[in-house]
Amino acid sequence: MDIGFLIEKSAVILVVFGITMLVALYSTFGERIFASYFQDRLGPNRAGPGGILQPLADGVKMFTKEDFIPDTPNKFLFIFGPFLFMTTALITSSVIPWGDTLMVFGRIVKLQAADINIAILFVFGVVSIGVYGIMLGGWASNNKFSLLGAVRASSQMISYEVAMGLSIIAILMMTGTLSLRSIVDQQHGFIDWSGSIPWFSWNVFKQPIAFLVFLICAFAETNRTPFDLPECEAELIGGYHTEYSSMKLGFFLFAEYINMFISSALIAIIFFGGFNYPGMDWAFRTLGMNGAALIGVGVMFVKTLFGIFFYMWVRWTVPRFRYDQLMNLGWKILIPVSIFNIVATGAVILLTGK
């Protein structure tokens, strides 16, 4: 194997890993700041200027707390749960294209760890494995509340995965590819002049219904309010992580922020054009390949960070659903809507012939 290729991929993977960790770390801080803003209070402002070192203080606190393991016959699974949840949260970032190609030392570097042609299916596969972390952890805790949280998480994940997959199918019918990079490339620029009627090239303007369904399902898959019933403290104490303490609890909480980051990135890529931005052809001509690509990376992160902000915005605005409402929404509203969207997309593709 080419040694340059190895170095290039290692660098990309390490940078992506570092950025994922950093964004997740400061998302916890951002969440608390936004929560304080929405609730009209000050929020964390003691550690460092403006509370900027709060995540580090939280980390130290997590590490130095007593690592309590309950009396359970399944100690291995109890430890394996958070490990699996964290791993699956991090794996997904490997197929996400963070930017266009860069020219570094005469090499063309794709800003993506692995450009596989079934990337969307890969993401779905990893997401569907992620629930095992919650389930095994909750079951091995040997606690009825944890078990209820785990069962809730699994049924919620399965229900919303169906609607999520169906909403994506409409996009796949339109794009004709499963590769995330090709999907981004097809949304080039902002306005597509090539058709008979100029229209926005981003998928959100072509598939608004699919976007809505996908967004709701993403909230459910990441266990965020209004769908955070697996850890609903009013009914289940702490849900699946009731018995966890120290860094194992930290892993569960931290993986949720990584999931938020990855799902925001995915929404940005599939629906908001990823690293495409208005006037990118002009930037390519004036700034060259690297300049345009770096702006693209910046644009991609702005879109992703807005997605994370949206998650927090919703969390502190919308109250939690009841469990039967959650299931009704998933099975009786979102799935029929996305099937209707698939039929409508098929009809349009058949009639316009493209």
Partner: protein, 168 residues
């Protein structure tokens, strides 16, 4: 290299399959079965069938086994409450699986003469080729199996429906 990967995956698959049967705890059985599915998905990867591999993981490990696990977790599987099968059932199960073993061994003994159509085409397992074959050559069985799934789904819904006048 491929040979070693194959041997490793085969070892994992067979080990997990054995542990699925031998584990006392049904939850551990399910976890070993998931491991076995992953090893089989690896085998699909070796055969260049990446689409099949990932769909195998999504459907079996990601959906069916999650349902199994959540059902098992809600069951009360203590040793005291577990019902032990009568001896007749155990003996008949042993005889039946022995017969199955006999058939499998007989088939595998003849397998040397089988002509397996070896294809060297690298794109055989990719989604484009698979879609064309499925909706062109095998359209009828494909649609037929979807009708089968639909009927199974309607049957399941019908079973859970309350009858008229029945309370909860």
């Amino acid at each position: 290299m491929t040979l070693y990967v194959f041997l490793f995956l085969s070892f994992v698959a067979i080990f997990c399959a054995l542990m699925t049967v031998l584990s006392k705890n049904p939850i551990h059985s399910v976890i070993y079965l998931i491991g076995c599915f992953f090893a089989i998905a690896g085998h699909y990867m070796l055969l260049n069938a990446e689409f099949l591999a990932i769909v195998h993981i999504i459907v079996y490990a990601g959906a069916i086994m999650v349902l199994f696990l959540s059902t098992l977790m809600l069951m009360n599987l203590n040793d005291e409450t577990e019902q032990h099968k009568p001896a007749v059932a155990k003996i008949s199960a042993v005889i039946a699986s022995g017969l199955l073993m006999l058939v499998l061994v007989a088939v595998l003994k003849k397998a040397d003469n089988l002509q397996v159509p070896l294809t060297q085409e690298i794109s055989i397992g990719t989604i484009k080729v698979l879609g064309k074959v499925l909706l062109d050559e095998y359209l009828f069985p494909f649609e037929f199996s979807s009708v089968l799934f639909l009927s199974a789904m309607i049957g399941a819904v019908l079973l859970t429906k309350k009858e008229k006048g029945q309370t909860a």
